[in-house]
Every structure is written in structure tokens, then in C-alpha cells.
């Protein structure tokens, strides 16, 4: 067994929350650069330049990329040969608090969803997965709620064909339009159960957009970019930077399809302990 102390976990989570919120992901920045180069609409072109400038200011001035520093969501893969000294969930939440306070990020979490009282930085959302080995991988995905509000799930019939699924996904993006800060990165979860498909859709956003390409994803990307939504919804060649898809086996009676949209500020950071 290998022992990892709670304090080490808190420190790692704190650093990941700061890195994710202040430094735009390299793959997203690269995709924005190529969107800028191929854009022909003058307003969209200047907006792409401004999005890249915003990322540079955030990194250089140590200020959050977006004021919505998200619902801190932490994915943990724990090797089964790891023994944790201390309370894992407490350590993760402590790390979130530390990082958010240190980098002047926003306290957007309300303790009671109905009475809207008691504002804070935590609790965060923690997804734990047990894997082989003696390492621990932590990923922070602080996604804003402008785009989270546009999430969709549809339970298709098992006999549905691909064109019906594609139509549902493209329609979801069309309805979202300018409200969720396009150009988007779209996370898709196909299969599993209702809840598991939603989790897959979010997890898909963690994947490097240059490496996560699939045939269906590329087809969807082309169709979505024909919508001419563009940055701020004011038109343009690029409405979507990438479509990341994760699939899982499902039941003979169903076909869940989940959509989780990220705004252009696709933020996440990972570390292995």
C-alpha cells in the first residue's frame, strides 16, 4: 500500500482550481486560434481576437478568465493500492476553499437550493472512481452555469437511428444560441442510464479536443457550424470548437443521449499524485 496524506490532496486540489480558472486550456486556445484564422465575418473575427486577448490578460494578470468560476467539480481516480491518511472529501473541499480564496475566485455556491441562503465556495461536487495501481489522478472542471443551464437529456427508443440523435443534438445547440457564450465545446454522453449518460457528457469535456475526435463528433461539428451562431451569437463560421463523445454499453430497452455544453472558456486542470 502507498499512503497519501489528506494535506497533499488539499494542496493539489487548490493548485488545480487556480490553474483551471486562470489559464485557459491549451487545446481550447489552439482551437480558438484556428477559428480566428479562418473567420471571414469581421465582427466575429474581432470577437475571436478579444477572446484570445482575454485569456492572455487572465494568465498574465492572475485574474479569473470568467467571473463565473463555476461549480467546482472534482474528478478523482484512486488506485486501489492507495491508502488515504485523513478524510478524502474534507481534504478536497478544503483544497477548493483554499484555491478559490487565494486566487480571488467567486463564491457561487448556495447551501440551500430552495431558500437560496448561505453563500460559499463549497461543497464542491466530487466524482470518485477506483482504478488499478497506486496513483491518484485529480481533475478540476470549474464549469460556469450559463452553459450548464442548457444541458439536455433525451431517452431515445433503442431502434432510433443516428440521424434522430444528431437532430436532437443540433437542435439543442440551436435553442441554446447566443445565451451560453458560443463558440462551444459540446460534451456528449451516449448509453448507460439517464444519470450515467449525463456524467459521461460532462466527463467528455475533460478530454483533449484534438485527441477526442470521432466520426460522429466530426459530422456533428460540421452540422453545428452551419448554424451561423458564431461568437456572442452574432454570426460567424465557428459556432462550435469541438464535439467530444463518450459512450458506454446500455440496456436493450433504451438509448440515453446527454448533452453538456461548455462555453468558449473551457477550463480544467489535472494532476497525478
Amino acid at each position: 500500500m502507498r499512503t497519501i496524506k489528506a494535506g497533499t490532496i488539499s494542496k493539489a486540489v487548490s493548485e488545480l482550481c487556480i490553474a483551471a480558472n486562470l489559464v485557459l486550456r491549451k487545446d481550447a486556445l489552439k482551437a480558438l486560434g484556428s477559428a480566428l484564422r479562418k473567420e471571414v465575418n469581421p465582427r466575429a473575427k474581432s470577437l475571436f481576437a478579444a477572446i484570445i486577448e482575454n485569456a492572455n490578460i487572465a494568465k498574465d494578470e492572475r485574474i479569473a478568465i470568467c467571473q463565473d468560476t463555476g461549480f467546482p467539480t472534482i474528478f478523482v481516480e484512486i488506485g486501489q493500492e492507495v491508502k488515504i491518511k485523513g478524510d478524502l472529501k474534507k481534504a478536497i473541499n478544503k483544497g477548493v476553499e483554499l484555491g478559490y480564496k487565494k486566487a480571488y475566485l467567486r463564491n457561487s455556491i448556495i447551501a440551500d437550493p430552495l431558500d437560496r441562503a448561505r453563500l460559499g465556495y463549497t461543497p464542491c461536487i466530487v466524482h470518485i472512481d477506483l482504478v488499478k495501481g497506486k496513483r491518484m489522478k485529480i481533475s478540476a472542471l470549474p464549469k460556469g452555469f450559463g452553459c450548464e443551464n442548457k444541458s439536455r437529456l433525451k431517452m431515445f427508443a433503442p431502434t432510433a437511428d443516428k440521424s434522430e440523435i444528431k437532430k436532437f443534438i443540433v437542435e439543442t445547440i440551436k435553442e441554446t444560441g447566443p445565451d451560453a457564450c458560443p463558440p462551444f465545446v459540446v460534451g456528449i454522453g451516449i448509453g448507460g442510464t439517464a444519470d450515467y449518460a449525463m456524467l459521461l457528457a460532462k466527463k467528455a469535456l475533460l478530454r483533449d479536443i484534438a485527441q477526442a475526435k470521432t466520426k460522429l463528433g466530426e459530422e456533428l461539428l460540421r452540422e453545428i457550424n452551419k448554424l451561423n451562431i458564431g461568437p456572442m451569437g452574432l454570426g460567424g463560421e465557428t459556432t462550435c470548437l469541438a464535439v467530444n463523445i463518450l459512450t458506454y454499453p446500455t440496456h436493450i430497452a433504451g438509448l440515453p443521449v446527454a448533452v453538456n455544453i461548455s462555453c468558449h472558456a473551457l477550463r480544467s486542470a489535472s494532476a497525478v499524485i
Partner: protein, 173 residues
Amino acid sequence: MKRIYLPLTGEIIKNLHTGEELLLSGTLYTARDQAHKRLVEAIKKRKRLPLDLKDQIIYYCGPTATPKGKAIGSCGPTTASRMDRFAPILLKAGVKAMIGKGRRSAEVVKAIKKYKCVYFLAPAGLGALLSTKVRSKELIAYPELGPEAIYKLKVKDFPVIVGIDSKGKDIYK
């Protein structure tokens, strides 16, 4: 790009057209979901408001905490449609303009036309860049709401696009 010095007058608003890009300098007040709920409740109960809304601009924004040595933290616009249910009442109470991101309801467009107001779009998801256009931030009301409190912002050359002008022309239609 046209420079506008605030407060907005009827004359200025009349000459603003949907799609125009502007740079605003002067005073804005932040307010989002919970502050809107409270302001509208106060108006309905005829209670005294924590600020004079006449001729003011409401910016739908909940900034991050202010880093040391800076005037404000990251401060981009939030989704305007969540404020649609409150906006007509605030426009009736004297608010002249709103700044946010995204589409507005038919009721809001109708109220904009009726009270001769304007809806501006601020560049969405660019909170770090917009923070460089803010000179000061002062707490005005509802401190317990944290980032959702009402703050008075002094801005210089704050970039916006006219989203809905006083004739009701909508950039998304």
C-alpha cells in the same frame, strides 16, 4: 467607435441603433437575480429603494472577489433572459439601459419601446478583459448577497453593442 458619456439622456438613446458598437464611460450599477427580486419586491410594496433608479444603467454582473491592487475582479455579463421577468418593472421605475448577454423576451422588447430604453450586449465570457475597463467598485446594497450585491462601477471605454434599440429592433431577430 462611438464614445458615450453617461448618464444616458433621451437624446442619446434616440440616436443609438441596433448593431452599433459603443464605448461607455461613467457609472453603472450591477444587479442580477437576487438583487432584481429584492428591488422588484420593494417597488411593489412601495418601500424606499437603496438607490435612485432614474436614468441609471443596470449591468447584469456578479464579479469575482477583487484581487489586491485591482479595482475589480473578473466582471463579464451574465445571461440576461433570467432577468426578463423583472426588467419591465425596473424600466417603468426609471432604469434607462441594461447590459447583459443573450436574448430577451417579447415582453422586455415591448417595455424597451414603451419607455424608450436600450439593451446593450457586453462581450460574453471576457471578464478579465472587461475588468481593465473598470476604475472603481463600491458596495451600494445587499452585502449579504456577496457577488450578487449591488455595486456602483465607474467605467472608462467599456465596450458594448446595441442589442435592442429604443425602437425595439432586436439584433437576434
